[in-house]
Symmetry: C2
DNA sequence: TAGCGTGTATTAGGTCTGATAGTACACTGT
DNA sequence: ACAGTGTACTATCAGACCTAATACACGCTA
């Protein structure tokens, strides 16, 4: 199931949110797919159901999933999601570039390294 | 003077650390320069002296500054600092690229935007 | 020497967030 | 009726962050 790093200082519910975001954005979970129930996932990840519920609430607010009372949570088919996330992504890139320049990193170095990172490794 | 965002959820001492890091790395504060005293900066930023001390402790651990008892804190002349920071910077870039790929961002888009960000704006 | 301005250390308390625990209720499907 | 689901609420604990107050050691200078 989901990979959670319990050593990480990042909140558990945030980790859950991010992992599920990746699963949805990468297409691993198609629109309409039912997510594990709050209680089931809590047992699976050795967490409190409230922690999972908090994660699901975040995902719902951001449009990734929608809940159906008495049935479960399902992956949304929102088409604008990717655009919105990409916009946020590039804002982060801009901030990072600023920091890089303060560190004396040149545009050439940055582009070269970034292109390299793009080639290697897997998405997940 | 340092610019601190009190609305930001990022801890005050971390913001102080980052601002001073930028001042040093960008060369605005040369090696040997004396930093404001813990008490003076605390008054200046409307913070508790202990908060400033925590920030100065972080900066000392990372090699940015060194303290002299009874005199004050001074900017270190460590040459390896920039390299170390650049290494950390590129690790962050790598993580960000991973996320970008999960979002369906192509290498061309990324490089184009990043290059753009490199041209515009100021360092600080 | 006395005093002032430094850094440093310690203890205490307040606030917020993250996480757990337990309980209760409404809805769906069989 | 029952089981499984989402949802809501309260209570409690732990840790991080920040403030507050105090005390001590050191360097400089009148």
């Amino acid at each position: 199931m989901l990979t959670i790093d319990y050593q990480n200082r990042k909140p558990l519910y945030e980790q859950v949110v991010e992992r599920i975001q990746l699963l949805i954005l990468s297409g691993a979970m198609e629109p309409g797919t039912q997510l594990p129930s709050v209680r089931a996932l809590a047992v699976d990840l050795s967490m409190n159901p409230n922690t999972i519920q908090k994660a699901y609430n975040c995902l719902e607010k951001e449009g990734y999933i929608y809940p159906v009372k008495g049935k479960g949570n399902f992956v949304s088919g929102d088409k604008g999601l990717k655009e919105k996330q990409q916009k946020l992504f590039f804002e982060t890139v801009e901030q990072l570039v600023k920091r890089g320049r303060a560190l004396g990193v040149t545009r050439e170095e940055f582009v070269k390294q970034a292109a390299l990172y793009f080639e290697e490794g897997e998405v997940l």
